[in-house]
């Protein structure tokens, strides 16, 4: 093997480099430059209170995941017999409530802002998927509580799920299955989708305000839903 006689070239992107790594790096630098990912200036209209909802939703999710990790570590029975466990469960319970309140506010806010405009339709789509997956995550959490509420929700909810045929592989009466899905699969999915959603927002930036309709139609140059 020959030893290079000169120092390696600076590690700069090279469009002619055929490697996969270079291709991914080039793509990221074009689609998601750091200036977009971590901006230090924004259009002044982001000062509106409506932009807070999404951020608090993400903060709520961090509390949900953090308290959920502690509950999962000590096991599903811990919080029923431990004062500290009950407190951690209470954190989990109220952070879930907070998360959903702000996600719903965020969703309605984004709807009335028509935030899918100017190529942001998939951002909207992923946001709705996060909401739906969040519902399933909350549901599996409720049937994993190991108390009267969990028993009754499982018995009551089985009919709706069975009617679709999903009961054959998603058994709400099987605590082990629900708990496993709740503490591992769905949190990973929700977190991944939220990261994707935030990256989508940062890639294109927040949508411009809706321009007033000019007389005779038209007038809004930013209404396309294409992505």
């Amino acid at each position: 093997m020959s030893i290079p006689s000169r120092a390696p070239a600076p590690d700069a992107p090279d469009a002619s480099d055929p490697s996969w790594t270079a291709a991914i790096r080039s793509l990221l630098e074009r689609r998601l430059p750091l200036a977009h990912l971590l901006p230090v200036r924004q259009p002044f209209f982001v000062g509106s209170w409506v932009y807070v909802f999404g951020v608090v939703g993400v903060a709520g999710l961090v509390w949900v995941i953090g308290s959920g990790v502690v509950l999962a570590f000590f096991g599903p029975g811990w919080w029923h017999v431990s004062g500290v466990g009950r407190f951690v469960n209470s954190i989990h319970f109220w952070s879930v409530q907070l998360f959903f309140v702000f996600v719903v506010l965020h969703l309605w806010g984004q709807y009335f802002m028509a935030s899918w405009r100017d190529g942001r339709a998939t951002t909207w789509l992923v946001g709705v998927v996060i909401f739906v997956v969040g519902l399933v995550t909350g549901f599996t959490g409720y049937v994993s509580q190991q108390n009267l509420d969990a028993q009754w929700i499982a018995i009551n909810a089985k009919d709706g799920i069975n009617a679709t045929g999903a009961g054959a592989f998603f058994n709400v009466l099987d605590f082990g299955q629900m708990y496993g899905i709740h503490v591992m699969l769905l949190p990973i999915l929700v977190t991944t989708l939220v990261v994707l959603h935030v990256v989508q927002v940062r890639m294109r930036g927040v949508v411009r305000p809706i321009e007033p309709q000019a007389p005779g139609g038209g007038g809004n140059p930013h209404t396309e839903a294409t992505s």
């Binding site: 630098e29 200036r41 009950r86 519902l135």
Partner: protein, 323 residues
């Protein structure tokens, strides 16, 4: 360095920008939401009404327990006749014309309530109990019609049953070995043994509560407790929580359909509600591509409230240009 593919500079051209600290905003949101969450957790704790066990059910309402167990043995309980995914029955199979996903998915659990909830646990408890051994032998050796006569007569008698010292007492009649079977099952249940026997499977570790939950769901005791906690479907129970705590309020729309006709009276209400919600969820996800739905935000001036600073700035800019 190459220009970004999505040029935000061009997109926001002409709009003033302001300093913005994304990470600081996230940290502040985390701290502020944390304060709210911790205060709520300290002040209000979280709901935790203890679960019902087969033991507490048998101790608190032995007549309901025995009545339910008799229906399991007779094959007339809700779960015995349920259909997929628990049994081969069809009583709870919901369809819309030829659309029958529940039937197509098939019987995945293969539940046999008579054997799983009554005869199996009794056989396990019969060791060293000659009365129970002979009662079981008498029951299993009888023909189907005779068994049915015993069970029907005993079920009728249970309507007027009383409780004495924790035992269920019925009027004298021809019930065959059924009263002995039920007295022993009640005894096992009151001791807590049936909780374990219903959960026991082919291996040591078990986390599947399908059998005990369906068994309890067939009775009236658990639903009575749920009623007291306003958890029934007719009470919007899907979105409620025990006590006065908020529940899954985000399921309000799902719960609402069950309160309204034709859903509230339809035999296939669950399937209708799930499909309705599926269509609505798809519509929500696909709003950007659906005319009218995607135009509503432009017609409803909420955006003018959200971006009022922007519109004020725009008016002032135009006025300044005109001057």
């Amino acid at each position: 360095m190459r220009k970004p593919a999505l040029d935000q500079e061009a997109y926001y051209r002409g709009i003033p920008t302001v300093p913005y600290d994304l990470l600081k905003e996230l940290v502040l949101a985390f701290v502020a939401s944390g304060i709210v969450i911790v205060v709520l957790a300290l002040a209000l704790s979280s709901p935790d009404v203890p679960p019902v066990t087969i033991q507490t059910w048998a101790q608190q309402d032995p007549v309901d327990f025995v009545t339910t167990a008799t229906s399991e043995l007779a094959g007339t309980s809700f779960s015995a006749a349920y259909g997929p995914p628990y049994t081969d029955g069809s009583a709870s199979v919901q369809t819309i014309g030829p659309f029958a996903p529940q039937r197509w998915a098939g019987n995945a659990v293969h539940l046999n309530p008579a054997e799983d909830d009554v005869l199996g646990p009794l056989a396990a408890a019969a060791v060293g109990n000659p009365d129970l051994v002979s009662a079981l032998a008498a029951y299993t050796s009888a023909d189907g019609a005779t068994r049915q006569d015993w069970l029907t007569a005993y079920t009728d008698a249970l309507d007027a049953a009383t409780t004495q010292n924790g035992q269920v007492v019925v009027a004298t009649g021809d019930y065959g070995p059924v009263p002995v079977l039920m007295a022993n099952l009640l005894g096992v249940a009151r001791s807590g043994g049936l909780d374990g026997l219903l959960l026991a499977g082919d291996h040591f570790f078990e986390t599947n509560y399908t059998k005990p939950l369906l068994f309890m769901g067939d009775g009236g005791y658990l639903s009575g407790l749920a009623d007291n906690q306003h958890l029934l479907g007719s009470q919007w129970g899907m979105m409620n929580e025990t006590g006065s705590y908020p529940g899954q309020a985000w399921l309000w729309l799902y719960s609402m359909w069950y309160q309204l006709p034709p859903y509230s009276t339809a035999p296939n209400a669950d399937l209708l509600v799930v499909l309705t919600m599926l269509v609505l969820t798809l519509a929500l996800a696909l709003v950007p591509w659906i005319p009218i739905l995607r135009d509503i935000p432009r017609w409803v001036p909420i955006h003018r409230l959200i971006w009022r600073d922007y519109y004020r700035w725009r008016r002032q800019s135009r006025r300044a240009r005109t001057v």
